[in-house]
């Protein structure tokens, strides 16, 4: 699913002393099938932007188009939007509430007019994708799981609807290394299968590894936008704006300065290892 922001602005509590311009005249396009990473200092408007895209808030100005259709237009199918766009919020484990895992994961499917079999197979697939055995967990209470497991259950609840656009707000925060790895691998798979992904993260190396494209926000405006190799090249700008730097790229640059022939724009860990190993053999 393609996303287009046209001059989008969003103001909280307008006309009061608490007025905050969270997003200002933001324009960008995410192509169908892309994996886009969003970065920026805390408070720069990342969460606001994704809530606008998911149609959970109205912008104060500008337009948001999904597959070319204005989501705040009069005839837009909002129920369809809920089905086609999945959102994993920050700390999504808090949204679990049903009596059983099966019911909770199926919560989002109630309004789709799916048959029981369709629902069940979708719930099963989502849970298995998140590393659970369907039969083992389906009748347990979701509140009895550990923190990391709850996060995976919550993500399963979003995946069950088979969204075309998957938005994730800092999904890695607080996950252990195994959980991170599993979630990232899954996102990679979904993306290969055609799901458009928009992920907020503070981890430049992870985004460099997985995202086709990095969107940097600063004070609610677009600051940088492009492939990781390009965006992360500007070390000083990232440092000065409190945005995490890409360590792999910094390491590659340090080696280049010492005369190693490592291609400019090396940002992936595996890529760097291959280059080093290649040089070693020579």
């Amino acid at each position: 699913m393609s996303v287009e922001l046209r001059n989008v602005s969003c103001v909280y509590a307008p006309g009061t002393p608490y007025e905050t311009r969270a997003v200002t005249e933001l324009s960008l396009t995410i192509r169908d099938g892309e994996f886009a990473g969003v970065m920026g200092k805390t408070g720069c408007g990342k969460s606001t932007m994704i809530q606008l895209i998911a149609g959970l808030m109205r912008p104060s100005g500008g337009q948001i188009l999904l597959d070319g259709q204005d989501i705040n237009g009069k005839n837009f199918d909002r129920d369809g939007l809920r089905r086609r766009v999945g959102v994993v919020f920050q700390f999504p484990e808090i949204q679990l509430f049903e009596t059983t895992v099966k019911r909770d994961v199926a919560f989002g499917l109630r309004h789709f007019g799916w048959t029981e079999e369709e629902k069940e197979s979708s719930v099963r697939e989502a849970l298995e994708r998140m590393g659970f055995s369907y039969e083992a967990v389906k009748d347990k209470s979701p509140l009895g799981f550990s923190g990391g497991e709850k996060r995976r259950l919550a993500v399963a609840g979003v995946l069950a609807a088979r969204p075309e656009l998957l938005i994730l707000d800092e999904p890695l925060a607080g996950l252990d290394p195994l959980g991170r790895e599993a979630l990232l691998t899954l996102l990679g798979e979904l993306n290969r299968d055609g799901t458009t992904i928009l992920m907020v993260s503070h981890d430049a190396d992870t985004l460099a590894e997985y995202a086709d494209r990095i969107i940097l926000l600063k004070d609610g405006r677009l600051f940088r936008d492009g492939p990781a190799a390009e965006v992360f090249a500007d070390y000083d700008a990232l440092k000065d704006n409190g945005i995490g730097v890409c360590r792999v790229r910094e390491a590659a640059e340090a080696l280049r300065r010492r005369g190693w022939e490592i291609p400019a724009g090396t940002v992936r860990y595996g890529q760097l290892l291959d280059e080093i190993a290649g040089r070693w053999r020579q």
């Binding site: 909280y12 009061t16 002393p17 959970l56 089905r83 919020f89 808090i94 509430f97 789709f112 509140l143």
Partner: protein, 263 residues
């Protein structure tokens, strides 16, 4: 939630903002006593003017000041209808089943609705113009004489101030959960009452879980930092009322006396 919740403190430097919180709280009590004792419809006309003056003095946008009463239209209508139909059955125009509407009932309904409205808006002006901590300090100050008869006023004030500081966090959390469930297909904004009702559980269950978790964490953090409910802290010194505080108190007291006498 592009709008702010009613009653949220909004910094400012108007006369009303600068008054001592305890004085303001006393003023509110005096004004409420006067409002409740107002009987004549003309009296309510005067109150509306006074209220407008107060809002003007506090330099609060009228929309913000009235926010506490907004959205309660159904509630006011209910008050009106209940009084209309049941207040003075002996003077009823007609009698349909248990309903006995009368003009005395209509008048009483308007009166009660006006009182509730004034009460809500006046309290809101106090909340909007006073920092929450100053407000709990004021409660503690006004309640402190009760210490002598063994009431744990410090503890009460601590509980109150913790509760008040929790409100914005809880509102934020509720808003986040509402958005998360909406994204998953809950229909909070559906015009269909049944759909709306069904959406309550996905919202309330997580909010309660979160609230209890927070309370737990906070009590641990407080204990870790050495808070003990049974240790007496030194008496707090409160700044004395200034001339403007006394002036505000006198004006409100005068209003209370006048309205109570002439009703």
């Amino acid at each position: 939630m592009n709008r702010l919740p009613a009653g949220l403190y909004q910094p400012g430097d108007s006369v009303v903002h600068r008054l001592d919180a305890a004085a303001k709280l006393l003023c509110l009590l005096l004004l409420l006593a006067a409002v409740v004792n107002t009987a004549a419809p003309a009296g309510y006309g005067v109150w509306v003017l006074l209220l407008a003056l107060l809002i003007r003095l506090a330099r609060i946008p009228p929309r913000t000041a009235l926010a506490s009463a907004a959205g309660l239209g159904w509630f006011f209508l209910l008050i009106l209808l209940m009084n209309l139909c049941f207040y003075a059955p002996e003077q009823a125009w007609v009698s349909v089943w248990i309903f006995r509407p009368s003009s005395a009932g209509l008048l009483q309904g308007l009166r009660v609705a006006a009182r509730v409205f004034l009460l809500l808006v006046m309290s809101n002006v106090l909340m909007v113009s006073t920092p929450p901590l100053a407000l709990t300090g004021a409660f503690e100050r006004l309640l402190s004489p009760l210490r002598f008869i063994g009431v744990p006023t410090e503890l009460a004030a601590m509980i109150l101030s913790v509760a008040i500081q929790f409100i914005p966090t809880l509102l934020e959390e509720t808003d986040g959960i509402r958005k998360a469930q909406t994204a998953r297909g809950a229909r909070f904004d559906s015009p269909n009452l049944w759909e709306k009702g069904k959406a309550v559980l996905p919202l309330l269950a997580p909010v309660f879980v979160a609230a209890f978790q927070r309370a737990d964490e906070l009590s641990l953090a407080m204990e870790a930092r050495g808070y003990r409910a049974d240790i007496r802290r030194g008496r707090k010194k409160y700044p004395p009322f200034r001339a403007c505080d006394w002036l505000a108190l006198s004006l409100c007291a005068a209003a209370a006396v006048i309205f109570i006498i002439i009703r």
